[in-house]
């Protein structure tokens, strides 16, 4: 019986474009730039081409993208699996809402302040958990939004179950949508650059072999807290934006939706690529919006997608596409 196996080889042009000499020909530059320009151009064109109903969805897609970026960054570059996306969203949202309603600051100021202060608060609260690994860190971060939800409910602080209403909105929808789209693009490419810098190398070291990092006289907790700060600041930014879009901030921002969808998007899009989670959000969130009429059936639906992807296609869409783009495949006889 003859046996065959699939052989994968890098395309010639991929090898040519790996070094600085890629700028020597238009073809090679095009090969590198095309996917990036397609992504950025596509995202920026969305508010122009979509019908009015779907334009509302763009902002929520972007907020989920920010969370998913943070999740992917923490999980695949630092090795901390955080199931607490809702914790970041809630912290950011409440800070922005308080600054806006009680101090009267405009969104231009509240969003950056909420990002920085929220990131710092989240990092501070998560700091004692940083030595934990794997399952333990995942469980503890899953608990944080739930416990804050219950505490706000029980103590009836921060507006209690009604939340904080009357938060200022954006002047018009163009500012709202382009603002968040540009933020997503900047954070995406910023993070991609960051993980390839020196500090990214240390991050990966923390993930793969923390004892070696320790042996190099680098503080693991220091690097982990920087990473957590970056991820939680992204989440808080999303939360602050959300509070201004819906002109409201309440305990439902600690809901599990914000913890589950980013994870599902990362799994579907392809973990460890940073672009994948964003693409995953652009696929999942509109689907979940389409299914809104079916009520909780949509949660069933995306849970099942999540299980199917994690079990059968754990590489995700982005890794698959990248492979097709960079490599060709052929069957060879063994």
């Amino acid at each position: 019986m003859e046996e065959r196996r699939k052989e994968r080889l890098d395309r010639g042009i991929k090898v040519c474009t790996e070094g600085i000499y890629a700028i020597s020909s238009w073809q090679e530059m095009g090969y590198l730039l095309l996917p990036r320009i397609a992504l950025i151009g596509g995202m920026l064109a969305l508010p122009l081409v979509l019908p009015i109903y779907w334009q509302r969805v763009i902002s929520s897609v972007c907020i989920y993208s920010l969370l998913a970026l943070g999740f992917d960054f923490l999980a695949h570059f630092i090795g901390l699996v955080s199931l607490g996306g809702a914790f970041f969203i809630g912290t950011g949202g409440y800070i922005a809402a308080i600054l806006n309603t009680s101090l009267g600051l405009p969104p231009v100021l509240t969003i950056p302040v909420a990002t920085m202060v929220g990131g710092a608060i989240c990092t501070l609260l998560l700091y004692p958990c940083l030595p934990l690994r794997g399952v333990y860190f995942a469980i503890v971060t899953l608990m944080y939004p739930l416990v804050l939800h219950r505490i706000i409910e029980a103590l009836n602080v921060l507006g209690g179950t009604d939340g904080i209403v009357g938060v200022a909105s954006f002047p018009n929808r163009w500012i709202e949508q382009y603002g968040i789209l540009v933020i997503v693009i900047i954070s995406l490419f910023g993070l991609r650059r960051l993980v390839n810098e020196d500090i990214g190398l240390v991050f990966r070291g923390v993930k793969d072999n923390d004892q070696a990092v320790k042996a190099s006289a680098l503080s693991i907790n220091f690097y982990k807290s920087i990473a957590v700060f970056i991820a939680s600041a992204l989440g808080c930014l999303g939360g602050a934006y959300l509070a201004h879009i819906y002109m409201w901030s309440g305990i439902s921002q600690f809901a599990l939706d914000f913890s589950i969808i980013p994870i599902a998007a990362t799994v579907i899009g392809g973990g460890g690529t940073l672009v994948g989670p964003v693409l995953g959000c652009f696929i999942l969130v509109p689907i979940s919006e389409l299914l809104r009429a079916f009520g909780t059936l949509r949660i069933v639906f995306y849970s099942l997608i999540l299980v199917a992807f994690i079990v059968f296609r754990s590489e995700g869409i982005m890794v698959y596409t990248e492979r097709k783009y960079h490599q060709f495949e052929r069957w060879v006889e063994v």
């Binding site: 690994r133 399952v135 333990y136 029980a154 009520g295 949660i299 299980v307 079990v311 059968f312």
Partner: protein
Amino acid sequence: MDILIYGIINSFSLALIAIGFSLVYGISRLPNFAHGALYVITGFIVWSLLNFLKINYLLSIILSLIITGIIGAAIYQFILIRVRGMAVSEIIASYAIGLAMLEGFRWGGFKGMTYTLPVFIRGSIEISGIPIDFQRILLVLIGGLVVFFLWAFTHYNRIGLALRGIAQDERAAMMLGIDSDMMALVAMALGSILAGLAAVVLLPMGNIVVEAGYSVLILAIAVCIVGGLGSWVGAILAAFMIGFAQIITVKYIASHFHMVVAFLAIIITLILRPSGLFGRQKELEERV
């Protein structure tokens, strides 16, 4: 006195809820986040059998426990077996399965306060001035029986001994011819049946609601983490600690803080001593 009595009842219900989760994790290192869903599903199966097929109560309980066991085994055999060993994938996959089941039930119309199970025996007695219905006394008895049965099962039965073998040293057990996957399957089925048993005993005292699935999962995790993941003795002792802590909080602070106790117990234990009070895992595996 009422703290003592309600504390004991609450502790036994926590122990019942948590023991299935602890069993599965202890044997196959598989955090079964579908535990809460299995709990609620058993309730709905019993309810359906009682109301649609009009079967005898005892028979429908036994049937539904068997069905839940099969569901648990199927979840392992078809889905979780493929992600064994990848801790994060295990959590996400099992949590997503649980979510799908719970929200599926909610979509299917199982919501509101209309679904209740009858109690086993009606009536109540007074112990030092506090009325306690028979269901709660039965709960304590059944809780004690389950603990005793599990102890006997894992000490004097071939399969039980094999389960303990896998839990203690998987490689050595495999060298002695114990099939690791088969044992994980058995553990998962047994864990699901225990979740179902907890549901059957506890649900007659309230309504069957989807939300119970989430709080049951959290309570189970709280008990197992405080007791040390995978340690059964620890789980039972932790059930008593959290059980009494909850009752005392409700009595002296406010009933809103009922669940906050569980959350704080998880967070504090994980920060101070991640392997729990009685966990036997190596410190280096979970902490840097």
